[in-house]
Amino acid sequence: MPESLRRALLLGPGLTWLALFLVVPTATVLLYSFFERGTYGGIDTILNIENYVRAVDPLYFGILLKSLRIAAVVTAVALVIGYPVAYLIATAPKRLQIPLLLLVMLPFWSNYLIRTYAWIVLLNREGLINNALRWLGLVDEPLSLLYNDTALVIGLVYGYLPFMVLPLYASIARLNPEIREAATDLGASSLRGFWTVTVPLTRQAIAAGCIFVFVPSIGNFITPDLLGGGRTKMIGNLIYDQFLKARDWPFGSTLALILIGVMMALLFLQAWFVNRQMRHG
């Protein structure tokens, strides 16, 4: 078989799949974003940029900014919680590492929606946490833990924490332990050794983990719906509403494209930053 034919056969299925289910829908979304909403929810094929003008309206733009802020907070919290977890697993005795990783991944075995509902049980006014606090006499009135930004951040961090832990674990486990010993030997305290050696050497994993948490967080609409209540809307909810409630497909497409654009810009920025640091260590 000629080499070119063999390549075509091997690449064909994957490329076809991508063309059908990624390129075509994205192109459709791109096209729709320049159309207008029809009177009865359909699409009027009149080319214009009205949707983009509308998207920068403070009402919508504010939601995008808020989504960015929440996703950033979620990413930061996940990093602060996830790094020590990954570090402890990676430096645990070998026979414990696999069981501990399994525990990190265990939540994935149940449905995301069900896991998010579980937080309602924990956080609501008559929920486990409030009852426990009242039983301990720490609070008189139940705290409003649910249906606000805090609940939203808790839910998203919980949902995506394994995506932070796994790349960090892989990176820390690969570090030659002698490198940390060398830092200690040369006079570094544990904390200084950590900041000057371990963190720089796991920088790429930190970046990867942050992307894995940030990207699904900013586009998520289930968690804001269930835990954020009606009050906390994120860009994902907005897009969802445009398509399924307002039946304004063109505007929904515009918002979706803007979200993709923002994420791409952030990814490039991050890649550029990591590469720059690699060159000037």
């Binding site: 002698e178 010993e181 830092a183 200690t184 305290s189 050497l201 260590g281």
Partner: protein, 365 residues
């Protein structure tokens, strides 16, 4: 010379495995000291105890008379060159070497000058900006050396420093390490499994076995006066004859007595050990009656420049013997395979060693 490091009864167990078994050592000022032994003998554990990465279960370690174990590893005036070199891959050569000084809050022109001095010392000037992955194995080793020396430690620990280098480079680095040690006047403790390396570099050697210090001494002492079969076998080549300790030597099973010096209880199992280069090969039984002499058949001859290695079978001792004969010896040309000759050596060239454990017998068979 005064002692820098003193170890008293240092023991360390990992689970049920005994890594160090009551080791006591004295390492002197300005000494090039080798911890030698097969893998698993505890030599690396000993080095890691000194660096502070392992805490002994028992025993005392002092440096300049002060309790070393009470000092945290990052505060000890001891630096280590790791077997993997453990260079910081994200830092260039300059910053790798400067790392230790920065941890001591050395700044500015002093940092610059001391780092450059250390790099010049190992002939790495001009490579300051390179990353470790842009260096050859030999260059990496020099960076590791400069990084460990830049803080002027009281003691430099080197874990198998030459193991990762190819043979030719290894020879160069052996001399280089000796030169450096004289130049900087720092006590070097090197861990190695290679007896040739230890013999060539070290002022004194501790040969370790199963977590114990089997014998300590200068290379000459270990070579000429080994205290046990293990030492005699580990250092250089050695021929062993099994027998029983008699009044004036070792009596083979056939009744022949081989004369020599050394300690072994009367009538107890013993080895008579003799170095290959001490054997003389003769066509006829020597006239000198004091000399040991055994009849032997030449099994194999191989030429290696300065000497011929002659392998002989000695029927009387049921042993294979190696003799190294100077190629300048006029008798050499006459040696042929299959020939029956006499193997002779003076009693002063042979050592009598106790023959105790089963494993020693097995090793020789």
């Amino acid at each position: 010379m005064s002692a820098v490091i003193e170890m008293q009864g240092v023991s360390k167990r990992f689970g049920t495995a005994i890594a160090l078994d009551a080791v006591s050592l004295t390492i002197r000022e300005n000494e090039f000291y080798a911890l030698l032994g097969p893998s698993g003998c505890g030599k690396t554990t000993l080095l890691r105890v000194l660096a502070g990465f392992e805490t002994p279960d028992e025993g005392d370690v002092s440096l300049d008379g002060k309790d070393l174990l009470a000092i945290r590893p990052n505060r000890r005036p001891v630096n280590m060159m790791f077997q993997s070199y453990a260079l910081f891959p994200h830092l260039n050569v300059f910053n790798n070497v400067a790392y230790g000084l920065r941890m001591d809050r050395v700044r500015g022109s002093e940092l610059e000058a001391r780092t450059r001095d250390a790099l010049a010392m190992v002939q790495l000037d001009g490579l300051e900006g390179r990353r470790p992955n842009q260096l050859s194995g030999g260059q990496r080793q020099r960076v590791a050396l400069a990084r460990a020396l830049v803080k002027r430690p009281r003691v430099l620990l080197l874990d198998e420093p030459l193991a990762a280098l190819d043979k030719k480079l290894r020879g160069q680095m052996q001399m280089e390490l000796k030169r450096l040690q004289h130049a900087v006047g720092i006590t070097f403790i090197v861990v190695t499994h290679d007896q040739g390396e230890a013999m060539e570099m070290a002022d004194r050697i501790a040969l370790m076995r199963d977590g114990r210090n089997e014998q300590e001494g200068t290379p000459e002492e270990l070579y000429e006066r080994p205290a046990s079969h293990f030492v005699a076998d580990f250092i250089g080549d050695m021929n062993f004859f099994a027998g029983t300790r008699g009044a004036d030597g070792v009596r083979l099973e056939t009744g022949t007595i081989l004369r020599g010096h050394g300690d072994a209880g009367a009538e107890s199992p013993a080895w008579l050990a003799v170095r290959p280069e001490k054997l003389v090969i003769a066509q006829a039984r020597p006239a000198h009656a004091e000399d040991n002499a055994l009849e032997a058949e030449v099994v194999d001859i191989s030429y290696s420049g300065q000497h011929l290695s002659v392998r002989l079978r000695v029927p009387e001792a049921d042993a294979l013997v190696l003799a190294k004969v100077d190629t300048a010896d006029p008798n050499v040309a006459e040696i042929e395979r299959g020939q029956t000759l006499w193997c002779c050596w003076p009693p002063s060239a042979s050592r009598i060693l106790p023959r105790e454990s089963y494993s020693e017998v097995r090793e020789n068979e």
